[in-house]
């Protein structure tokens, strides 16, 4: 299932503040994720996992060390180049869904394509396809307020995969969902990982959610505390 290295951290530090008050969110992290991997990232609050996720998603840059994405030194790019990188290669799924309110599911899914400059008719078709892939046929013209939490998260996933990204960054994607919905979403992510070869990096608190991934990286005090292959679920 795993291909060449997609993401690598080389002695990555991320520090905030000055002098005495200087805090190291990441303290010399080395890490690699291969194409097609499904990785769960765990750790208590303040362990540095969110900072790591922001860097992985090209939202943030390291203070020192090298972060490379597909061989590109993404940590040294300016914000507009990182925006382009996100638009071309990264899809995001958040705990709070983060859909545009009062905007239909289809329009939400089309959004990343607008910034790519895709023509309207093609956009519509791609959005419909993505919504079909997450099992939301017939809900295209509903606004987020008219959808359940699970359905909203499916729209968010459709929005993330509509550009056929290399990497999906999921920040506690099931944090707001009940157990049944959680398993549905996790099965969807697992299927996308398998069918599309989508690399997934997912932050989670829950062990049973992490168990859907092939590999779990645990952060503690800005370091990688453990990095292990998961046992296949029964």
């Amino acid at each position: 299932m795993s291909g060449p290295v997609l993401i690598s951290f080389d002695k990555v530090w991320k520090s905030y503040g000055q002098g005495e008050a200087r805090v190291h969110a990441l303290a010399g992290v080395d890490l690699a994720i291969r194409k097609g991997e499904f990785v769960a990232i765990m750790g208590p609050s303040g362990s540095g996992k969110s900072t790591a996720m922001n860097i992985i998603g090209c939202l943030d840059t390291p203070t020192s060390g090298t972060y490379s994405f597909e061989g590109i030194d993404a940590g040294r790019l300016d914000r507009n180049r990182r925006a382009l990188l996100r638009n071309l290669y990264v899809g995001f799924v958040f705990q709070g869904y983060n859909l545009l309110p009062r905007t239909t599911a289809a329009e939400n899914v089309e959004l990343p394509l607008i910034y790519r400059g895709v023509a309207r008719s093609e956009r519509r078709a791609l959005a419909m396809q993505a919504l079909a892939e997450v099992g939301l046929v017939g809900r295209e013209h509903h606004t987020p307020a008219e959808l359940s939490g699970g359905q909203q998260q499916r729209v968010a996933i459709a929005r993330a995969i509509v550009t056929r990204p290399t990497l999906l960054v999921a920040d506690e994607p099931t944090g707001n969902l009940d157990t049944a919905r959680t398993h549905e979403i996790m099965e969807l992510l697992t299927r996308l990982n398998a069918e599309l070869g989508l690399t997934i990096a997912m932050v989670t608190h829950e062990a049973d959610v992490a168990a859907y991934a092939e590999r779990t990286i645990r952060f503690l005090d800005g370091h990688v505390a453990s990095d292990s292959k998961n046992l296949e679920m029964a």
Binding site: L59, D60, L88, V90, N98, L111, Y115, G117
Partner: protein, 405 residues
């Protein structure tokens, strides 16, 4: 991309109808005020011009007495020497470039018909008067030369006189009493309406000058001489010629000032019109200030909008929006908003001007240039006042923006 953004901004304006409307209000009021002021103003200018041209276009009016100026009108040091028939005769004989030259003496006199009476402006003149004043007859005929010469008891009446005595009936052939004399009506003058100064131009009775002098005034004086320039001669060219001829016949030595005045109606019209235009400009500028206030309103709301939609901006940035996409989005939104306000304002302004033109009886004259300017200006206001909030949105850090509650 830009059409997509315009569409998105329209959606977002529709999502917040009340807030968008309140934002628009400033621009709507500003643009409506500017449009109404300028449109009413240019209508007033036209009205003033039309009123003055009713007095006769390309017209010079000669009166006795020193012209107004330093030292004041008239002058206490000299007895005013009235205009005389020889002055008129000299002008008729020597003045070139005039279409019509006509004397006029006027007095407010009680006119009686049957049991009705009316105080009217009785004017003694000749048949050239109609031509000089650009006045036509609705019915009847002007004085004949022999009637003018002999001072026959005939007269032409204005519309107000007719209505007072005859209602809608035909006045021709009726005999009215003017002072202690009587005259036969031989024609009806075309209605001219009121002047801009509220004077009824139709409350007149015209009679031959000789008849007026003999029976009403009791002297041989001429109050004024009307001189209409022909089409090829501007009044400014005609005026010095008139002055030369009159100085000559009135034997005024070079060391003395004129003892008569020549008023150029065209110049008066221009002066009045330019005064109204200045007034219009000032009112427009005051209204323009309210546009500026409207622009600040837009900026305020756009700042609120950016703050309120920080999370949305975060989402957009996360999924790959470039800084310029966010900038354009908010800029277009502000521009569309103020443009919308501008268009509504233009409609309201034109409606107000139309109402005013009916109540003030001035012409309704919307200027396409002013409307275009208002559209352009309101768009500009949106861009200028929307730029700072838009830039603020575009510069947001996506991580912070996503965390924003």
């Amino acid at each position: 991309m830009i059409w997509e953004t315009v569409r998105l901004s329209l959606i977002s304006i529709r999502r917040n109808v009340l807030r968008s409307f309140l934002t628009l209000l400033g621009i709507v009021i500003g643009v409506a005020a500017v449009i109404a002021m300028l449109t009413i103003g240019s209508g007033t200018t036209e009205k003033v011009k039309a009123d003055i041209s009713k007095l006769g276009s390309n017209l010079l009016v000669v009166r006795s007495g020193r012209p107004a100026g330093p030292g004041g009108p008239g002058g206490l040091d000299q007895v005013v020497r009235p205009l005389a028939e020889k002055d008129l005769a000299a002008l008729v004989a020597h003045l070139s470039g005039a279409r019509a030259i006509s004397p006029a003496s006027q007095k407010q006199v009680r006119v009686i018909f049957g049991t009705e009476s009316l105080t009217s402006g009785v004017t003694g003149t000749d048949s050239a008067y109609l031509d000089a004043r650009d006045w036509k007859l609705v019915s009847g005929r002007p004085f004949s030369d022999s009637e003018t010469r002999s001072g026959a008891g005939v007269c032409l009446v204005g519309e107000t006189v007719r209505q007072q005595f005859f209602g809608a009936g035909d006045p021709e052939g009726e005999i009215v009493r003017v002072n202690r004399t009587s005259c036969k009506i031989i024609g009806l003058l075309e209605p001219k309406g009121y002047t801009g100064f509220g004077q009824d131009q139709d409350n007149v009775v015209l009679m031959p000058l000789a008849a007026y002098q003999r029976r009403i005034a009791g002297n041989r004086d001429i109050d004024s001489i009307y001189i209409a320039a022909d089409d090829r001669t501007p009044t400014t060219e005609l005026q010095p010629r008139v002055e030369d001829i009159l100085r000559d016949t009135r034997r005024i030595t070079p060391d003395r000032d004129d003892d008569f005045s020549i008023r150029d109606m065209t110049q008066i019209a221009d002066a009045m019109a330019s005064a109204t235009t200045t007034m219009t400009g000032m009112l427009g500028a005051v209204a323009g200030v309210s546009l500026l206030v409207g622009g600040i309103g837009i900026m305020n709301i756009m700042l609120v909008s950016v703050t309120e939609r920080t999370r949305e901006i975060g989402i957009r940035l996360a999924i790959g929006a470039h800084e310029k996409h966010i900038l354009i989005q908010f800029l277009v939104e502000a521009t569309v908003l103020s443009l919308l306000g501008g268009i509504i304002g233009i409609l309201i302004g034109l409606a107000l001007a139309a109402i005013a033109s009916v109540t003030l009886t001035i012409p309704f004259s919307p200027s396409p240039a002013v409307i275009l300017l208002a559209v352009g200006f309101s768009a500009l206001i949106g861009m200028v006042f929307g730029f700072f909030p838009a830039l603020r949105g575009a510069r947001l850090d996506p991580i912070d923006a996503l965390r924003h509650e």
